[in-house]
Symmetry: C2
Subunit: 345 residues, 2 copies
Amino acid sequence: MADSLSVAVVGATGAVGQEFLTLLVERRFPFRSLKLLASARSAGKRLAVGDQELVVEELRPDSFAGVDLAFFSAGAGVSREFAPRAVAAGAVVIDNSSAFRMDDTVPLVVPEINPQDLRRHRGIIANPNCSTIILSLPLYALHRAAGVKRVVVSTYQAVSGAGARAMQELEEQLQQVQRGGEIVARILPVASLPHHYPIVHNVIPQVDVFAEDGFTKEEWKMIRETRKIFHAPELQVVATTVRVPVLRSHSESVAVELERPLSVEEAREVFASMPGVVVQDRPEDQVYPMPYFTSGTDPVYVGRIRRDPTVPAGLLFWVVGDQIRKGAALNGLQIAEWMRQEGMI
Amino acid sequence: MADSLSVAVVGATGAVGQEFLTLLVERRFPFRSLKLLASARSAGKRLAVGDQELVVEELRPDSFAGVDLAFFSAGAGVSREFAPRAVAAGAVVIDNSSAFRMDDTVPLVVPEINPQDLRRHRGIIANPNCSTIILSLPLYALHRAAGVKRVVVSTYQAVSGAGARAMQELEEQLQQVQRGGEIVARILPVASLPHHYPIVHNVIPQVDVFAEDGFTKEEWKMIRETRKIFHAPELQVVATTVRVPVLRSHSESVAVELERPLSVEEAREVFASMPGVVVQDRPEDQVYPMPYFTSGTDPVYVGRIRRDPTVPAGLLFWVVGDQIRKGAALNGLQIAEWMRQEGMI
């Protein structure tokens, strides 16, 4: 194990990439060198990292010589092409894209839940989908305490999940609304698809492209990734994923059917004992999690905890977490921290 | 039955009251006189009704002399005080507040579903809660076709549901965001409660005040009113109601467990055959309902129709409808139109 690491960030100019740079400094991750990689379009840009300023380099096949740890957040296509090259060059890859998540040979990890899966990695480790990570923390706490049988989740997802350009689009549309002009939609819901819709004064019930049976890929990610992280292939999850005009925190409304009933008080204790979870649940004082207040912070926040009277052991809750932090960059860095602590990198 | 009616609108300056005035003209409702009533604060204001301009009068105990039909939308307190006076003066009252909805002697009516309940009225007819009406149309279509056992619904509710002042608050906060100043929250989630939160860049998981067991009154309205409208006291409904930064259309994510399975194609036909429902469901063309496009229109729109693979006869759908139109004023006027057609007023 080296004293400190040579780190590369692929997609350094993106929303998640930039947050990763912030967190590397904020959490004093021991790096001796830092390589910022992006497409040719972004090469030459300068980015602040702590009190340094670093120049973005073009991502190339030979970019990973001497790199110990590479964090990828530049889309599945880039990961599929370059992650194996980084591994071949000797790096450990933590990949924030969907490229390898459901690959049986690749660990898919939320460090508070299944860190031991990291021990069987073969070079690539997958960071789960943002909505999945945020749901997984409180859900796993329940699963451990009372067994989760079925989950029905509806999401209220921030535009940051569609990247820095989507965040800019929301900001621009907010200006267009004020000027009273036309609302121009070019990015959301999915930049590469033919139809784009305004996100101001709107909610869009499409996150990612449509897959099988009328579900979106985002919905299938929540279903399949949760099962893999929990090692629970029989877990029943069904999701409806929706984009809302919020910058960077996702919210989720969750109905769970448990093996054994939990009272609201018991559920609060179960959630509070889970690392990474903060309970904000005092309805009598109007205390519940909201994305306006959680953005830029690390935990996921749980509130609106209620017994669901329509099933024998049902529980309802509301969870909010910063999509760029715990939903992406923070979880990725926590994976690296765990491996570092265990002497794996 | 008179040739034409003397109509009063209580709460004429509110968001729903004003829409009622628009609809009276748009739908050529046969009124010979129209009395606009509101609090002393609003008395003297002039409102356009078609090509007329009418002066708002102060609501007083003697306001209803000679009135045939009074539409109330000024809150439960006003309805409790003045609706019985209007009935005593000989008027039929259609009440948009929650004051009488769960009163066994008061019909609670969505005209496409249970118009026959109007026949047993004793002067007051209750207009259901907005989220309830919007859910009820597609849900009743399923109930009739395949029997609904259980419903899990999460809402994405427009600010119009909290009245004209909440709509103004969203507009003001959008300006404050642009000026980069402080966001001032005085109305949402509930004007009369101590804590107010921004609605721009936010979603608020509280609509109306908290009631029993951690549920809000809005959530209980969706549960209890749906049962009453459907004449289905055993129907299992559980709701999480959430405010989003949208001006006037509510969206709802719905998971239904049916008595008998329906295919997606069958469900589309069932929805399409329901009066007041428009199916917008072509995921391959990114066609699904969105509040940005439905506002100001009459139907409720259904899309994202999918089989829920986690239960034997499960179905998921997404419904969007204008909160002020079908969710409030339009439904109220449709009640009056049905009664008029049947010679009841």
